[in-house]
């Protein structure tokens, strides 16, 4: 599992690196951010908040699973709901950006916004499927002390996506500022 997360981490690190290099690189003579660039959508603040809350509920589920408590399934369910809410909020952010004239084929500033958020959202959606499976299994009383691998792996993956999102958000914000 660590290997898997390491692989994904390299993907995100490379993407952020590409963003930074293009942002400050020699090719960028005033192209970016474009003079009339809109600020980042406000909805991102909400989605960040949702993700942090889901991270906490995921942690509670993990602890509950280790102790073999019945509440594991409930906490997993809350996390799952948060995950859906996060994806929905990201879509809101996209439509907000589109209304503010951020058009993906127009300039690199808009392009990176959509590509980076989409890359992260794809990994969130990819995580929802195994999380749903684990939630169902938890409801069936599958996990207990010493046999909580499924919940543990979900938690690792979720913490990872949370950290990645914070890094991405910071990068996007930094990219949207005029220095």
């Amino acid at each position: 599992m660590w290997l898997f997360i390491l692989t994904l981490a390299i993907i995100f690190i490379a993407t952020i690196l590409a963003f930074v290099i293009v942002r400050v690189g020699p090719m960028n003579d005033g192209h970016w951010p474009p003079p009339d660039a809109p600020p980042l959508p406000k909805a991102l603040l909400f989605s960040t908040l949702i993700l942090i809350i889901s991270d906490a509920t995921m942690h509670v589920a993990r602890v509950a699973a280790r102790r073999g408590e019945r509440s594991t399934a409930a906490w997993m369910g809350v996390t799952l709901a948060c995950a859906f809410a996060f994806v929905a909020t990201q879509m809101l952010a996209w439509s907000e950006a589109a209304r503010a004239n951020m058009i993906v084929t127009e300039d690199l500033y808009a392009w990176t916004f959509y590509v980076l958020t989409a890359l992260h959202a794809a990994h969130v959606i990819g995580g929802i499927i195994p999380m749903a499976v684990v939630t169902a299994r938890a409801a069936g009383g599958r996990y207990g002390p010493g046999r909580d691998d499924g919940v543990a792996y979900c938690a690792m993956y979720w913490h990872f996506l949370d950290i990645v999102w914070l890094a991405l958000y910071a990068t996007l914000w930094w990219g949207s500022q005029r220095w």
Binding site: L3, I11, A14, T15, H31, D107, L108
Partner: protein
């Protein structure tokens, strides 16, 4: 110790064990959904050899065109661009990168560990099917209009070319990348968790050290290729992206990312080859491998350095002089672990009782070709000579010596080494050796000429050229025909053995590691119980046994496996 080899006539008839992995279950579906690492390895092998044939045909088309300096009516310049691109892309992504780990590694690694399978058999099957899907996408790209970007997909050309196959092939390579990552993860976990009792890290066969280092690179470098290609594909769809200079993007960034994967990828290709050579040389000279720890550590050292040298592909891309010098210096440091390996192999050969079997011939061919390939790499890693040699045929010759002359020759050598184990049949030594000699001669005729071409200034990838270069091109093309003949004979030799080959003993060459201590072909579960192991290069307990028709490893003589074993003089420890 006897130096006879198993191809000597024996009056004994060895009956192939009736229940083995080939006969365990029957039917096409029992193969398509098998979780048996041996079957997955065999399927990989035939798929990869099929791709090798396709890539080879494109190579012959390119070489045949180059017989003439002018345009030829049967191949336009556009078709020529597509042919060399396809040759490169197929050979790199479908053949050489997966060849040794996915085909031979899958088959041999768990058996060498005395395990029943890899750690995650389902993931292993998924890797195989990802490979198949990747290959399907490459085929679709041909139908969708092909591509002519060169196998490197350099931007901005790859984002601008009008041919319709680019996004398809990029998707294909993206999928193949994940196939490679999953194989790597599987091997790392398998080696960590499933080593048998007695096999400490420094008791592992060197092939496993090589696969382990390779797996590390696969897991760490391939994601960068994946995201880079994804960004190129997105850029082609939206006509804007981070590699597009018109919008403030940086096309050289692509080169950095691409080579951050593709230089380590060279070691994904060569490291497992080196592992095979360590096995072949030790087994066929019946001598304890010299400098075990040096060879093991040099694999790890090569894997580590491989991440720090990508800039040597970009000396003329406008990177700063200081960066060029730093990359050049680090590149030289890769020569040290490589040379350590070569010296240790030579030291193993020295005073060994060498059996010149077909695998050993390939091993010796490797030593010769890898030395040339490695040493010419120094010319290219040196800043000032590279500026002259960059993008000439010298580069083409160099990387063919390394990727084909070394990695692929090692793969074919390993194929011959483990073929009796995989299928329980011996091939004809005479045909095998003839194939090997033809490939070796043809290879050198083809590519040594290209060193001369390149140093005289012939650029790579050109459709037309000055008539003064023609003689070299004609010689080179003749060499490629000899090589093709050699591969055809090799193919016939191996295929023929499946139908009329003599049944193979469990241990035809005098091997010592675990795969030679189970029947050929191995049973479904490899070993009934996980065996204990001692020093896997201690050949003093391997002896010829007429009743077995091959060698046997006499475990009762190993003091580590049997406390009552008699003390022997001259045993290596």
């Amino acid at each position: 110790m006897t130096t006879l080899d198993a191809s000597r006539p024996t009056h004994l008839n060895i009956e192939a064990s009736s229940d083995n992995y080939l006969t365990h279950t029957r039917g096409l579906l029992s193969w398509a959904f098998t979780l048996d690492h041996k079957r997955i390895g065999v399927m990989y092998m035939f798929a990869i050899l099929g791709s090798f044939f396709v890539g080879g045909v494109f190579a012959l088309l390119v070489r045949t065109k180059l017989l003439f300096p002018d345009a030829v009516n049967w191949m336009t310049a556009e078709q020529y661009n597509q042919a060399f691109t396809l040759h490169g892309a197929v050979m790199v992504f479908l053949v050489i990168v997966p060849s040794i780990p996915a085909a031979l590694g899958n088959f041999i690694l768990p058996i060498m560990l005395g395990a029943k399978d890899v750690a995650f058999p389902r993931l292993n099957l998924a890797s195989f099917w990802l490979w198949i899907f990747g290959a399907i996408f490459v085929v679709i790209s041909l139908l969708a209009g092909s591509f002519d970007t060169g196998w490197t997909f350099y931007t901005p050309y790859s984002t601008r070319t009008t041919l319709g196959g680019v996004v398809w092939v990029i998707t294909g390579v993206f999928i193949l990348g994940f196939s490679s990552i999953f194989t790597g993860m599987n091997f790392i976990v398998t080696i960590h968790k499933l080593r048998p009792p007695g096999m400490t890290w420094f008791r592992m066969p060197l092939f496993l050290w090589a696969l382990y280092s390779t797996a590390l690179i696969q897991v760490l470098a391939t994601p960068v290729l994946a995201i880079t290609l994804a960004l190129v594909a997105i850029e082609r769809v939206f006509h804007i992206g981070v590699f597009d200079p018109a919008m403030g993007g940086d096309p050289v960034l692509f080169q950095h990312f691409f080579w951050f994967y593709s230089h380590p990828a060279v070691y994904i290709m060569i490291l497992p080859g080196m592992g095979i050579i360590s096995e072949i040389i030790a087994v066929h000279s019946h001598r304890h491998i010299f400098g075990y720890r040096f060879i093991a550590f040099s694999s790890i050292a090569i894997a580590f350095f491989s991440f720090l040298v990508w800039g040597h592909h970009m000396f003329v891309s406008g990177q700063s002089g200081l960066m060029g010098a730093v990359f050049s210096l680090i590149t030289f440091s890769v020569a040290i672990p490589s040379a350590i390996k070569v010296f240790n192999w030579l030291a193993t050969l020295y005073k060994g009782s060498i059996s010149l079997n077909t695998p050993m011939l390939y091993g010796l061919a490797f030593l010769f070709l890898f030395t040339i390939g490695g040493l010419t790499g120094l010319h290219l890693g040196t800043l000032n000579t590279d500026i002259h040699l960059h993008d000439t045929y010298f580069v083409v010759a160099h990387f063919h010596y390394v990727m084909m002359g070394s990695a692929l020759i090692a793969m074919v050598g390993g194929l011959h080494h483990w073929w009796p184990k995989m299928f329980g049949r011996m091939y004809s030594e005479a045909l095998g050796k003839l194939g090997c000699v033809l490939v070796f001669v043809g290879f050198n005729v083809t590519f040594f000429t290209q060193f001369m071409l390149g140093s005289h200034g012939m650029p790579r990838r050109y459709y037309l050229y000055q008539p003064e270069f023609q003689i070299y091109h004609v010689i080179s093309t003749c060499g490629s025909y000899i090589m093709a003949l050699g591969f055809i004979i090799t193919g016939i030799c191996l295929l023929k053995s499946l139908f009329s080959g003599k049944p193979a003993p469990a241990n035809p060459w005098g091997g010592r590691s675990l795969e030679w201590q189970c029947p050929s072909p191995p049973p479904h579960d490899n070993f009934p119980t996980t065996p204990r192991v001692g020093d896997c290069y201690d050949f003093s307990i391997v002896r010829w046994d007429d009743s077995a028709g091959g060698y046997v490893v006499d475990r009762s003589l190993d003091p580590e496996l049997n406390p009552n074993a008699p003390k022997r003089a001259g045993a290596h420890h």
